[in-house]
C-alpha cells in the first residue's frame, strides 16, 4: 500500500492512498482527509480531452447529492478542481449489500434483513420526499459503512421528478430491478419504479440470489409474470396503453408463499404490496416504512451488529487457503446462486467505493481476458470450483449510449 507521502497531498487537504478502481467517469482512490482524519473515497472526473467539460453524469450526481442530506444516503463531502480535473470526495464505504448477499459465510437473520431493508427504505424515502428518483436501485449501489450503516449511492442516473408531464427515458435500472411499466416502455413514471426495485432487493435478501433474472427485456417480463401471474386489465388498467405493450400468454400466479418459503407473513404482505403491478396502486416507500413488518418482532438488528463480509485483507489471505471454498456448507437453496456457464463476474464489490456498471464490466474484462489480477475482494473464489456466479446485467453500453442520446436530445 502507498505510504503516507506528503507529496501526495491533494488540494492541501487529502493524502492520497491506493487506487480503489475505475468508475464510469474516472479513477476512484482512497485518501485520508487531513482536516478530519476521516478516510474518504475520491472520484477523479476525467475532463482533459473531452470536449464537453464536466461529465454530465458526474454533474447530475453533484447536483442531487448537494440537495440530499440523510444518514442513509452517501455523503458528498467536498468537490474541488485539481490539475484541471474535478474531484468528488465521498465518505469511505467498506462494502456493499451485494457482497453481503453473495457471501455464503454470512447468515442473515430476519432481524438483519429487516435492518438492511429499513435503512434502504429510509434513504429512498428521503429521495422521494425531495422529489428525486434514484432510478438505479440495486444491491451494489447500496454501500455499507464501517459502522454498518447502509447508504444509497450512485446518483448518476437519478433525476428530479414532479414537473407534470415530463417525459423520461425508460432505459433506467439494471434489468433485473426494472419495474413492469418501464419494461413496457412508459416514459411517464414516478417513485413507484424505485419501490419495485426495492422490492426486488427485499426478495434478494430473502432468497440470497437475484430474484427475477431475466436475460432480455421480454424475458424479464416473462419472469415477472411467472412469479406474480400475468396481470389482468382489472389489476392494471393502463397497461394496454403503454408504448411497448405486448400481450403475454396467461399464466396464473403461484402462491407467494411458495416463492418465499422462509419469509414471515408480514414480510410476504409487504412484498406483495411493493410488487403491485399498477404503479398507481403500488405502496409508496414511506407507507412501506410504516408497514407492520417493521414494527412487529423481530426488531431490526442494530446496524453495527449486522453481519458483514470480512475485511479486505483477511479475505485475500483466505482466498489462498484451500480449505475455504469447498468446505463451506450452505443451505441447498443457496447453491442455485452458483451457476455454471455464465460470464465471469469479479468483484462483487470493489469495497469502499461503489462499483458502477462500466466499472464492473471493465473489471470483468480485465480479470477474464487479460488475466490482470486486480485483487478484487471476494468472499469466495469461484475459480476454485470452475463455477461462476450469475452475471448481473447492468445497463449495457447500448443502453447507456441510448440513454445518453435521449438525455441529450429528448429533454429540450
Amino acid at each position: 500500500m502507498t505510504e503516507l507521502d506528503p507529496s501526495k497531498k491533494v488540494a492541501d487537504r487529502y493524502l492520497k492512498r491506493e487506487v480503489l478502481g475505475e468508475g464510469t467517469y474516472g479513477v476512484v482512490y482512497k485518501a485520508i482527509d487531513t482536516q478530519t482524519g476521516q478516510t474518504v473515497a475520491i472520484k477523479k472526473i476525467r475532463i482533459g480531452k473531452q470536449k464537453e467539460g464536466v461529465n454530465f453524469t458526474a454533474l447530475r450526481e453533484i447536483k442531487l447529492l448537494k440537495e440530499l442530506n440523510d444518514p442513509n444516503i452517501i455523503e458528498l463531502i467536498d468537490c474541488f478542481p485539481h490539475k484541471g480535473n474535478l474531484h468528488l470526495v465521498f465518505e469511505f464505504m467498506e462494502t456493499d449489500l451485494e457482497a453481503v448477499i453473495r457471501d455464503r459465510n454470512i447468515f442473515l437473520s430476519p432481524g438483519d434483513i429487516k435492518s438492511y431493508l429499513q435503512m434502504t427504505f429510509k434513504g429512498l424515502a428521503h429521495c422521494h420526499k425531495k422529489w428525486i428518483l434514484h432510478r438505479d436501485m440495486k444491491p451494489n449501489n447500496l454501500l455499507i459503512g464501517p459502522n454498518g450503516q447502509l447508504k444509497l449511492a450512485d446518483f448518476g442516473l437519478a433525476r428530479i421528478f414532479g414537473s407534470p408531464d415530463r417525459r423520461f427515458t425508460h432505459q433506467v435500472f439494471a434489468r433485473w430491478y426494472r419495474a413492469p411499466e418501464l419494461l413496457f416502455g412508459t416514459k411517464q413514471y414516478g417513485p413507484g419504479v424505485d419501490v419495485w426495485a426495492a422490492a426486488c432487493i427485499f426478495a434478494e435478501l430473502l432468497l440470497r440470489r437475484p430474484f427475477l433474472q431475466g436475460s432480455s427485456d421480454m424475458d424479464q417480463l416473462g419472469k415477472i409474470f411467472a412469479a406474480f401471474g400475468t396481470p389482468s386489465p382489472s389489476q392494471w388498467s393502463d397497461m394496454v396503453y403503454l408504448p411497448d405493450y405486448v400481450e403475454y400468454q396467461y399464466v396464473p400466479a403461484p402462491p407467494l408463499r411458495s416463492l418465499f418459503p422462509m419469509a414471515s407473513e408480514d414480510a410476504l404482505d409487504l412484498l406483495s404490496k411493493m410488487f403491485t403491478y399498477d404503479p398507481k396502486e403500488r405502496i409508496s416507500v414511506q407507507q412501506a416504512l410504516e408497514h407492520r413488518y417493521f414494527t412487529c418482532p423481530p426488531p431490526p438488528t442494530d446496524p453495527d451488529k449486522l453481519p458483514r463480509p470480512a475485511p479486505k485483507k483477511e479475505i485475500k489471505e483466505s482466498d489462498l487457503n484451500p480449505r475455504e471454498g469447498p468446505t463451506v456448507l450452505s443451505p441447498p437453496r443457496k447453491t442455485r446462486r452458483v451457476m455454471p456457464g455464465r460470464d465471469g463476474l469479479e468483484g462483487s464489490s470493489l469495497q469502499g467505493d461503489k462499483v458502477d456498471d462500466t466499472h464492473s464490466n471493465l473489471k470483468q474484462a480485465a480479470g477474464d481476458n487479460i488475466g490482470k489480477s486486480d485483487p478484487a475482494p471476494m468472499s469466495l473464489d469461484f475459480s476454485i470450483f470452475g463455477l461462476k456466479p450469475p452475471n448481473r446485467p447492468t445497463i449495457n453500453s447500448a443502453d447507456r449510449s441510448h440513454l445518453k442520446r435521449k438525455l441529450d436530445l429528448e429533454f429540450q
Binding site: 467539460g53 464536466v54 442531487l64 474535478l86 420526499k129 425531495k130 428530479i160 414537473s163
Partner: protein, 249 residues
C-alpha cells in the same frame, strides 16, 4: 410551490438585498458603480436569453443560467470573471444541470454570430475552463427553483388561467430575471407579485384570493413595486450606458 423548496439549498442561500448589491472591491477600484453593476448583469441576462433563443432551450434553462450568473457575482468580481465569458458558460452549465445539454461548439458558433466585437470572442476551451471556476463559485449547488411552476398553479387556483393572463404573467416572470429578485425572494412570492401586477393591470379583483392565501401582502406589494420601478427605469438603460459600464472593466 413544491414542498421541497423549504429544505432546498436554494432556500438556505437566499440573500439580503444589501449583500446582492455589494460591488466587489476589485470592480469598485475600476470605477464600477452599483448602477453599472446592475446594468451589466441585466445586459448579461439579455445576452443569455439571446443565445438561448439561438440554441433553442427551454425558458427554465435560461432562468437557471441567469441565476447562476447572478450568484457568481455575489462572490466574484467582474474583473476576474469576465461577464462576456461567464454569461455563455452559465448557459452551458445550466443546460447540463437542467438536462437539456447544449454543445459548447454550438454556443461558440452563435456567440460569433451575435457579436462581432472581439471582446465577446471566446473559444470552447475558455468555456470549459470557466465552467469549472463557476462550479466552484457556486459551491457546486446547482438546483434552482423558479416561479414558473407555482405560477401556473396559482393562476388556475385563482381562476385566472386564461390565455391573456397566462401570457402576461409569464412575460412578467421572464422579466424578473433582468433583476436580482431570484437571489432574494422565494420563487412563489415572485410569482404572486407578477400575478398581482397583472391583475391590477387587467383590472381583475384578486383581493379575496390573496387574503385566503395568507401570505404577507406587504412582501408581495414590495416585490411588485420593485418590478414596476425596474420597468420605469428600464427606458433609460441605453446601449451607450451599458457599453460605458462594460468599458470600465
Amino acid at each position: 410551490m413544491a414542498a421541497n423548496f423549504w429544505t432546498s439549498s436554494h432556500y438556505k442561500h437566499l440573500l439580503d438585498q444589501e449583500d446582492v448589491d455589494m460591488v466587489n472591491p476589485l470592480d469598485k477600484e475600476k470605477g464600477v458603480t452599483l448602477e453599472d453593476f446592475k446594468l451589466i448583469k441585466m445586459h448579461m441576462s439579455n445576452y443569455i436569453l439571446k443565445l438561448a433563443q439561438q440554441v433553442k432551450v427551454r425558458q427554465r434553462v435560461v432562468a437557471t443560467a441567469v441565476t447562476y450568473m447572478r450568484r457568481v457575482y455575489t462572490r466574484k468580481s467582474m474583473t476576474d470573471y469576465d461577464p462576456r465569458l461567464v454569461a455563455p458558460t452559465c448557459l452551458y452549465l445550466a443546460s447540463k444541470a437542467e438536462e437539456s445539454t447544449v454543445q459548447a461548439r454550438l454556443l461558440v458558433f452563435y456567440i460569433k454570430k451575435l457579436y462581432a466585437d472581439d471582446k465577446y470572442r471566446y473559444e470552447i476551451k475558455d468555456i470549459l475552463e470557466m465552467e469549472m471556476k463557476i462550479l466552484e463559485a457556486l459551491d457546486y449547488y446547482l438546483v434552482v427553483f423558479h416561479p414558473y411552476r407555482s405560477l401556473s398553479g396559482f393562476l388556475q387556483d385563482a381562476g385566472l388561467n386564461d390565455l391573456s393572463m397566462t401570457q402576461l404573467t409569464w412575460g412578467l416572470v421572464n422579466d424578473t430575471y433582468k433583476m436580482d429578485l431570484i437571489l432574494v425572494h422565494p420563487p412563489h412570492l415572485i410569482a404572486l407579485a407578477c400575478i398581482y401586477i397583472a391583475s391590477v393591470l387587467r383590472e381583475k379583483d384578486t383581493t379575496v384570493w390573496y387574503e385566503e392565501l395568507r401570505v404577507d401582502m406587504n412582501v408581495i406589494k414590495n416585490i411588485s413595486m420593485e418590478i414596476l420601478d425596474f420597468y420605469e427605469s428600464n427606458r433609460m438603460f441605453t446601449d451607450e450606458r451599458i457599453n460605458a459600464a462594460l468599458h470600465k472593466l
